[in-house]
Symmetry: C2
Subunit: 520 residues, 2 copies
């Protein structure tokens, strides 16, 4: 029999989960990863491979016979690592951070090792109960109103990502509203955000079947630092009601993706309340900072919201994925998302004394995510976590000051947290610039046009600068466009980052800027 | 300064990701988990804790100061492990398996260690490219038609769970249909499954805004072994069309949750084609077996479907979560789910030469899931994987034969894969049974009623038997109710399971049955 050929395979003795073979290979992998962290600074941060590189290097099909872990890890080193963009590199300043940590990693390992499928309480009571505990712990650290905590008849949970958190709350709000106004009014429901709200809102609205014409991205401007204006929102709500539509859902943001703008949560909640609109506060990135008393004011007014979320996998040392979501009224989620098939019936559920998290989310199966957040909270503690976040803010300030000292650059919007938006000024571009008309002989229209051309030209130069910086492999940053201005985003938050990396990053920016400006 | 208090903390030297501290703690965790696997057989499989047990044992809030890993692991041992239901125990026969493996675990570790956020190609090209490669590899192992593979203009991906796979394909189908018939016809769309289809379909339909009245769970019966009848489906489709509704989506199942029934995929696809219905084939559990030539016929006809999925985290040695989804027309997914915010724009995306998986799924952020599936495929190889699955089927056969030898029991539905549905027969229940009327003196109505009473009474006894078995902690099984019959499900698939565990499980069943029948 063919099967006998493999009974004495050197790959594993008896079983794919043989404990001693697990131990051996596990230690090999730990050393591989520890070495990776030792060396991560040396790799080009942004992967330099070409599309399709990997298919050329790997076999066309699954091997027929087993391969040893050592061979596989050699391929990881040679073929996978060159294709990584190194989010754990201290020279990674792109997007928002994906801040790994030893504690987060260990929690993830333990979760993968237990490999329980915690859809309901009985399928692993510890998975559910620890989750209710850690979200209460973190909620208290954030000084969330008690109404969001289990201890106050609200409740929290760990979703994968903000996209899921927004979709779940939107669906709950949708069904709550439809139960009042009738199912056939679905096409009338309107969803609100700003033009800075994360794309997750629009995607959730599409998935939930909100009519695409009823998605409102209210325009923001530099005058409010790209925060959502309650007046403009109010105007739009009134217009929609006049048109026979039904305002449903507002996503307010604490720390937008492009510029970390903060919407005025209190004023928005106040307004929304008058119209029975569900308010979700998305603090995916900046929520973490709010465990520090000096940043807590950014989420003031949250007591008026229906739900609040932050991504512990962004700036809270917890491995991807871990989005913490709190809601005031878990029954709204449950009404929309619960299912009770016979094959999952059990006494604990029937007793109604337990939480079954499957009824709070999109999926049935769920990982034991609470372990990693629990490990992070305990391994570092409140004081260390605060100081860790503060150290990133401090480094961002250092970078900001460096930018401010170079007259060729400007800070595009005021810094709120650990992210700096900057650019080369149009005025730094010297001869190549279209001449700015003097006020004496240019009319206003022409002046505008020339200014626009200057801005466009500046945008091109900044884009060129960013590409040049990233292609060097020495650092990785990304960009945003706000108010027609192309800004380079410098987000401090990689766990391994130190001040020397920030200073070096600025040197890289200056070198590339000098080179680009001299050839213009 | 407060921060200085922790600079010389014994918890970690400099940084939460210090490589040498990572190495030290990582090795500690590997040993902890290896010991867990050594001992897992000794724990009660089903957790015996009471609701609320953990809150009584843990502090009320996050510690202010760091705690060492050793303290945390001691708490895991004392407080978390008693609250686990041990899915990795060889005595776990409940639900469907969550089959961990060394390779799956190592892949998960590597993914957590790199901690890249692979939403688009450029954010880590290897994450996207390896995913396209492994889904093609696995697709070929399954002999999926080329039209589902990248090499044939289709394509696959790794979602978290089947719930997400169904939601994404349903939304794609919905938007494709609405673009033809007009957005305002949303309330007319109808979704089809059987009463055995996984609850994921109904949940996806709710989330996607399908009118609750338009969800059809076609009744199945024992006569088709609880498979969906194309005739009954056809009848319902015609009825819906007559009522002015629009048939949209059908979920066919290969291996249902209750009894591993197999819907006739070919006939259903043929029917659906005539009405322009999107067919998704959900092979969450049983799809894995189809890599063996002798099981491949169960998915015959899949060439007529639009999409196909299986959960590698169920019965394919890959740690939760890993749902493999293949679609013939990725552009349908992309049309519904793509978003292109400025802050994610990059040259690779603009070149249209790369896959950006964020446009195929609900969420933006995504883990490097391909690593774990790649590790599983390479570590074990085609031959070993097939033999591993066959060994479970063989053990289920052994159990089936044991049941058949005990006249008190019956097999409720024919076994297809590695799951056996059985129960104590009503006739085994002796004196307590209501007497069955003889055909001579009972009329048919009375006879029916008595039979129903017998079945009800039998259901109660089987429920009691299952509870008694599970409370013993020695094994864990779950149940299903099909055709009003309460059946105990015995699913073989835990990675550490050996024939001796199956034989012992049957002895446990017999012992508890004898005790229960004697007290009745």
């Amino acid at each position: 029999m063919a099967s006998l050929n493999f009974d004495h395979s050197s790959i594993f003795n008896n079983n794919p989960l043989d404990p001693e073979e697990f131990r051996r290979q596990g230690h090999v992998m730990i050393d591989f990863l520890a070495d990776y962290y030792l060396n991560v600074e040396k790799y080009p941060v942004l992967s330099q491979v070409e599309p399709g590189y990997l298919r050329q290097r790997l076999p066309e099909s699954t091997p027929y016979n087993p391969e040893p872990i050592e061979t596989i890890l050699q391929d990881v080193q040679e073929h996978i690592i060159p294709g990584l963009t190194h989010w754990q590199s201290p020279n990674f300043f792109a997007y928002f951070p994906s801040s790994g940590s030893i504690a987060g990693f260990l929690g993830e390992m333990l979760s993968a090792g237990f490999n329980v499928v915690g859809f309901n309480w009985i399928s692993s009571p510890a998975a559910t109960e620890l989750e209710t505990i850690v979200v209460d712990w973190l909620g208290e650290m954030l000084k969330l109103p008690k109404s969001f905590l289990f201890s106050g008849n609200g409740g929290g949970m760990l979703q994968g990502t903000t996209c899921e958190a927004i979709l779940c709350t939107l669906v709950a709000a949708r069904d709550q509203m439809l139960s009042k106004i009738g199912r056939d009014n679905m096409r009338k429901l309107v969803v609100y955000g700003s033009d800075q709200t994360h794309i997750a809102l629009q995607k959730a609205a599409k998935i939930a079947g909100i009519h695409p014409k009823n998605f409102r991205a209210i325009k923001t401007t530099k005058s409010t630092s790209f925060a959502l204006s309650p007046d403009l929102l109010h105007f739009q709500i009134c217009k929609d009601i006049e048109a026979g539509l039904v305002p449903l859902f507002l996503c307010a943001t604490v720390g937008t993706t492009s510029t970390t703008a903060v919407d005025p949560v209190g004023a928005l909640c106040h307004l929304a309340k008058d119209y029975g609109i569900w308010v979700h506060v998305d603090a995916a990135y900046a929520g973490s900072a709010c465990i520090c008393p000096e940043f807590r004011h950014f989420m003031d007014g949250v007591e008026g919201a229906n739900s609040f979320s932050l991504n512990a996998h962004k700036w809270f040392l917890t491995t991807l994925d871990c989005c913490c979501l709190w809601v005031k009224d878990p029954s709204a989620l449950i009404k929309s998302l619960s299912t009770n098939p016979e094959y999952l019936r059990n006494k604990a559920t029937d007793s109604r004394q337990v939480v079954d998290y499957k009824d709070w989310q999109i999926t049935l199966s769920r990982k034991f995510r609470a372990l990693k957040l629990w490990f992070v909270l305990r391994s570092y503690g409140v004081a260390k976590l605060r100081n860790f976040l503060r150290s990133h803010v401090k480094m961002a300030k250092v970078f900001e000051e460096l930018v401010a000292m170079d007259k060729r650059f400007e800070i595009v919007v005021p810094r709120n947290f650990a992210m700096v938006c900057f650019r080369i000024l149009p005025t730094a571009m010297g001869e190549r610039q279209p001449k700015r008309p003097s006020h004496q002989n240019g009319n206003v229209d022409n002046g505008h046009k020339v200014l626009e051309e200057e801005e466009e030209s500046s945008n091109e130069v900044n884009q060129k600068l960013l590409e040049s910086i990233n292609m060097s492999g020495r650092v990785f940053m990304t960009h945003a466009v706000v108010g027609n201005v192309y800004a380079i985003r410098f987000a401090v938050g990689a766990t391994l980052v130190e001040e020397r990396h920030v200073v070096m990053a600025w040197k890289v920016v200056q070198e590339h800027a000098t080179a680009i400006l001299s050839t213009n």
